[in-house]
Symmetry: C2
Subunit: 493 residues, 2 copies
């Protein structure tokens, strides 16, 4: 090794590095941020997979490419990607592009650190603590614990793991074989991560007891009682109830006070999956939907959804002050969590998680919050509710839109009834034919690139659309467009 | 809702959005990228936690802040963060700032999508497939499966979960209670995520049987045989061996051929945790360290480590072609994975994971690979080995540096023996006093901001330094600096 040249020529050349990054950033601003959020541009440019593979030239080869080629690749990647920040992207529980949150994400990427020790993430260890403290305060807790997880599904799994560890600390070492059969309870409207988590954690999906929901999708507390008795009669040990604040499809809020009463009576851990609905806590007007959440043991809340903080920003919040997270997940790796460090090693929060390296997920939320203030964020939530209300009222004035139900949140679920089916509700194949409408319209809107709305079957109901009103840049004009566009796309059906 | 104003004034004002992002990007380029990778600047600016809290003003308030204040906050966040792209950051198994990978990360953040369906991530579904195919080809597989995970710990957990599911498909539904006690095997040098994973998955840490390692940290296959017999004699069912390619502290490579022979004999799943060492497969010169890896059932490989792709980029690779990932983890959520979509729903890969939303982790690696070519990446690996060799040879020419062992990888482990301890090896408190040197030097280097090197106790050995030679921008001059700086910081000890 006589060569003192840098390992990568570009990495050793600050001028070239800056030129590359400025060029890429210019493309990002033009294509992803400006055009990507402009109503006059497409929300997506559909290509069949085989054609897209050709266009992208995905193969990784021996030779590197020129800067010109690389910039062309950046343009293509953006061009054929879906613009989730676009005002006509209603497809998921996240939408929109918050510039401050994006700024936080760019800084996070440029600093590229791992959130496990104060040593290498001093700013973010302290910032995460403060952001979690603020989220806990909105839940109603003056103390507690928490951590950012790689998504709400993992947050939900953590809650289940913590609840079983609290009851049976031995299981960390000895496993589940020595325990009685455990039972956890959630409604049939819960997110599918509860089932996935039960399987992954070794409990098995059979351990999930499904509680009835009412016609609006809210857990029925009386049935929860019944299911608990049933499980006990079968010899299982109930240990956790997972309630949902903001269900995925209908946007329902489980009645937390009544559920907390049941949990209290039976000594069960109450977890609230508020991944979707948690952000409503910021609104004085609407936070009553989560009344009782302060009685939970744990709460999952994803600010990357309604607050548009950017994927991923998923907080697990705990009322616990006994260091349960660290006791349950910790393994005291001596190469990372040295006990003879020169600072307070309680600041090394990495042993609270089952990951080792962990991304920094707090800065994007913190910076956005600093810029908007709680009041700015509250206005967003209130306006999202207001715009969802506007959408509902407009639907009522038009032929061909049939609400699944009056929404209580910003999920607006409805059927588009095309001209040929109007007034045919009594026809024997009405529901079958209606169920085929949404997939056809979805294909048309995606191929036109005009908008994106999700649809799904649900229980005994055939396919209906779910418009999610979440993008902070939405206006009534966008809602009007949505309705007009559905009418246009479906006029010949 | 008469108001058609956008929910956030800034989000509705493209000029203001662009101005903000340009200003933030300018700060990022100057502070994080240029100064953050310049040897003439500090690698960190140490502050005590209480002082740092004051400097950052972390509190989230009701009122939002001005753009000027926000930009000041961005500067402060970068200023007090550790510069992991700095050529004097030797502290973790990642270091350096690859400009193309960073460009890929910035595009990823601006597009902000979730990698679960072709519908909303068409480019990235296809790209992930191609990147995984390429990584599998380097392992030696012409077919197979895989997925990017939120870190190597989760990849390792997936491997354990897949192995038990393959043997006992019932456990997904019925849980572990109905199974015999299971046993998995890994060496005492393995990463701590194996223990964490066993606890999380409900197996319990007792299910992890610890196999001896030789003096260089490599698993002893004969002891693996012994441990398997022992477990069987105790009534446990062996199901998986986790070998390590590149251990965390010593950088050791387990003898995969011999371990694969044992696995074959006993019908055990062979997982290779190559989170750290996997990137060596790119080097024709050094890939023999992983000979036998093609016989594995699963491989964990983190390109965010030695390839500097950026946190997190963690691939789990599988030889399986029977759709095991999806069968094991899938739950067919009907609101997301509709079966009546207008395109081939096999492209919706999201049901392969236990997450729901999943970050895009392939673009940063793909773009860097396109720019460097496999040959450019190979040169990086070879130069990292060469620079580690240079460091070792230089140490031998200087007084006061005692190698723990000749390294076989780019982890260089050594004691700095300060002047007062030189020639005192026979003194009864030599090892105790030597063990106190690294923490003192660590404090001094961090407070000076001159460099960062990790240290740890290890088995019966007292604290020693582990220099990780991974930053692609490193030169011999940086290595010389490291040695000189340790001598300077330790001259009075």
């Amino acid at each position: 090794m006589a060569d003192s040249e840098a390992l990568s020529s570009l990495a050793g050349d600050p001028v070239a590095v800056e030129a590359l990054l400025q060029a890429v950033f210019g493309i990002v601003v033009d294509e992803a941020i400006q055009k990507g959020t402009s109503a006059s541009q497409k929300v997506c440019e559909w290509k069949e997979p085989e054609e897209l593979k050709q266009l992208l030239d995905l193969e990784l080869r021996g030779q590197g490419e020129s800067q010109e080629q690389i910039l062309e690749r950046c343009r293509a990647v953006i061009r054929y990607s879906v613009k989730t920040g676009h005002p006509r992207f209603f497809n998921q529980l996240f939408s929109g592009l918050d510039p401050h949150a994006l700024a936080g994400r760019i800084i996070t990427e440029s600093l590229n650190t791992s959130q496990y020790t104060y040593e290498i993430a001093p700013v973010f260890v302290l910032m995460e603590e403060e952001v979690l403290r603020k989220l806990r305060a909105l839940v109603g807790w003056s103390s507690g614990d928490g951590i950012f997880c790689p998504g709400g599904s993992i947050s939900n799994m953590y809650a289940v793991n913590l609840a079983r560890y609290q009851r049976y600390p031995d299981c960390k070492q000895r496993g589940l074989r020595t325990l009685p059969p455990l039972a956890l309870f959630t409604s049939k409207e819960c997110h599918y991560s509860i089932q996935k988590g039960a399987a992954f954690l070794g409990l098995g999906t059979d351990s999930v007891r499904v509680v009835k929901a009412d016609e609006r999708g809210r857990m029925v507390p009386e049935d929860l009682e019944r299911q608990i008795s049933l499980a006990e009669a079968e010899g299982a040990v109930p240990f956790l109830v997972s309630a949902t604040s903001g269900t995925t499809v209908l946007g329902a809020f489980d009645p937390l006070e009544a559920i907390a009463d049941v949990c209290q009576r039976h000594g069960l851990w109450l977890h609230v999956d508020a991944a979707w609905g948690g952000s409503v806590l910021l609104s004085q007007t609407h936070r009553h939907l989560l009344d009782g959440i302060q009685r939970a043991d744990s709460v999952a809340w994803n600010p990357h959804k309604l607050l548009a903080a950017g994927l991923q920003c998923s907080a697990l919040l705990l009322q616990d002050t006994s260091n349960l997270l660290k006791r349950c997940h910790g393994s005291q790796a001596s190469y990372l969590f040295q006990q003879d460090k020169f600072y307070d090693v309680e600041l090394d929060t990495g042993d609270k998680v089952v990951q080792c390296g962990r991304r920094v997920d707090c800065l994007k939320l913190w910076l956005m919050w600093k810029a908007q203030g709680s009041q700015g964020l509250e206005r967003r939530i209130d306006q999202a509710f207001a715009l969802a209300g506007y959408l509902v009222e407009e639907m009522k004035t038009r032929e061909g839109f049939e609400l699944v139900m009056e929404p209580e949140f910003v999920n607006v679920c409805f059927w588009f009834v095309p001209p040929s089916l109007r007034g045919k509700q009594d026809s024997p194949d009405y529901h079958k034919r209606l169920s085929k409408v949404a997939p056809v319209l979805k294909e048309r809107m995606v191929k036109a690139g005009s908008m994106m709305i999700g649809y799904q079957p649900h229980g005994t109901r055939g396919n209906f659309f779910r418009v999610v009103v979440a993008n902070p840049a939405l206006t009534c004009a966008d809602i009007d467009f949505l309705l007009n566009e559905l009418e246009r796309l479906g006029q010949d059906l």
